[in-house]
Symmetry: C2
Subunit: 306 residues, 2 copies
């Protein structure tokens, strides 16, 4: 049995009926499951978490992209979150019995179909990128929908699939394979935003911090606290515990305690076992020692026999 | 889909072919799986970890008990570990879609069959116990095989199932339902056994410590260290992190550091998530946020449809 995860982002966070229609394109299929979905009216964006069979996943994502193209018109879209397409980004993440290389292949297969059949330009990103300057999603998305009508003419930004013209209402889309992304927030016992800003700067890659950490400072007015809000783009190489302990130490410097933390959405087992193993100082331990995970391996194998 | 775990203990830790014949009684069945097994020649004892369908589990455990009766003769058994039966103890542990009450029922169903068909006296223990003095396995086992020929005549120790006479070669057996048991060892950076002894005394229930902790001090001569070796009999109520932090603090009192820890065998997901959640100071988190666990729930549900 092979299982991949995908977390497509759609540029609609206000009209729930539209989001539900897009999700219905996934729900109608056997072999994949909607684990979670959320919409944010300020960002005017929705995020759906899917897991399941790789082939079914490609078909479902194609249908969702088609439905989003039909229902979302980016010419009238406003929201805080940067965006370039009705379907903005489609990542593939290996979960069970699937390699990163297979996920790259899946992203190319889906990208090709979207480009050829829906006439939406497709950019392969992260591990699927066809050039180094296309690895980072933020670099691809720069200029957003409105800017892409010029950007696409630059040979550096010729799409990987589809026409060399922006789709007039659905824009362009990024498709790629990547590691799990963990949204990890650390709440600090102070209302001084500058403390969170200094700490975010200390841990994020771009300003000299950990290689796989993106971090910003956020004010939590309701709670009278500030937050270091992070995307952990490779929990294996920049683990949660190490980043948290660095934040704790840096905060101490300002006499500020870590009050609590949050993980948004789903998290892979390995990331949590790594945390437990670190703090327990556990020798010789791994996810194969977790009963539920062994049971999953067994059921996945049994299922594969059918 | 319903899944239980069982970890039967057999009084044979030297003749591998005997242990393998017993295990073969489980392996021949569909719907249960042997996760792990180990034999200890000093203890002259083997431990098998099984998971799977409750009904199949009862049948398999009956066959294993019958095979152990045929192949093991306790009159000639010597080993460091106390024992009272060829099959010494059979616990049922709820894993998925099964309640503790159902596990109590399973233990009674198996106990009845062992008593009636194999003529081996059966004592229900832990959550299945029919009287408070029979809850603790160590209390039942006191006197061991040799002492049971007298002990069984005491009305206090009349078996729950089977004859009122010890089986001449297979002894008696304890069967019951219980929570997961986690074998958790903490290694200390000293060779002073008295430090481990004082700390074991501080954390174990019997001498005033945590309600669900059994602890002894062990010398690790090869490593030049000492160890607090524990059975955590309810990780939900006496959690690993709390006991470890108490040990760490008590060891500090003697200028001794915690060097490392070990978990022996399998561990339930919840126990490790509790650890990660404590040390990360994670608000609002649970095992349903772990992707692999969600996938297991889905596959178990799909399987149940067949």
């Amino acid at each position: 049995m092979k299982i991949v995860e995908s977390v497509p982002n759609f540029s609609e966070g206000r009209r729930e009926e539209v989001v539900r229609e897009i999700i219905a394109e996934a729900e109608k299929r056997k072999g994949i499951w909607v684990l979670d979905w959320s919409m944010d009216p300020d960002h005017n964006r929705s995020v759906v978490t899917l897991i399941g069979d790789p082939d079914v996943m490609v078909d479902a994502l194609f249908d969702m992209t088609k439905k989003a193209m039909e229902l979302i018109d980016l010419r009238y879209h406003k929201g805080e979150h940067p965006r370039m397409g009705a379907t903005d980004v489609i990542p593939f993440v290996p979960v069970l019995g699937v390699t990163m290389e297979e996920c790259v292949e899946l992203s190319k297969r889906l990208g090709k179909r979207i480009g050829e059949e829906l006439k939406i330009p497709v950019y392969l990103y992260e591990r699927s990128a066809t050039a180094p300057h296309r690895e980072n999603l933020a670099d691809i998305r720069k200029g957003e929908f409105e800017g892409f009508f010029e950007k696409i003419k630059d040979p550096m930004w010729k799409p990987d699939f589809g026409p060399d013209e922006v789709h007039p209402t659905a824009g362009v889309v990024a498709v790629g394979a990547r590691e799990y992304l963990i949204a990890f927030n650390v709440n600090l016992g102070t209302n001084r935003l500058e403390v969170a800003e200094k700490i975010a700067k200390a841990v994020r890659h771009i300003s000299g911090g950990y290689r796989y950490v993106k971090a910003i400072a956020v004010e939590l007015k309701d709670k009278g606290m500030v937050q270091v809000s992070m995307n952990m783009t490779n929990y294996k190489k920049s683990p949660l515990f190490r980043v948290l302990e660095t934040i704790r130490r840096e905060a101490q410097r300002y006499g500020v305690p870590v009050v609590s933390t949050e993980i948004i959405g789903m998290v892979p087992l390995q990331a949590m076992i790594d945390v437990a193993q670190f703090y327990l100082q556990l020798d010789d331990f791994g996810v194969d020692r977790v009963i539920e995970n062994r049971l999953l391996q067994i059921l996945a194998k049994e299922g594969a026999k059918d």
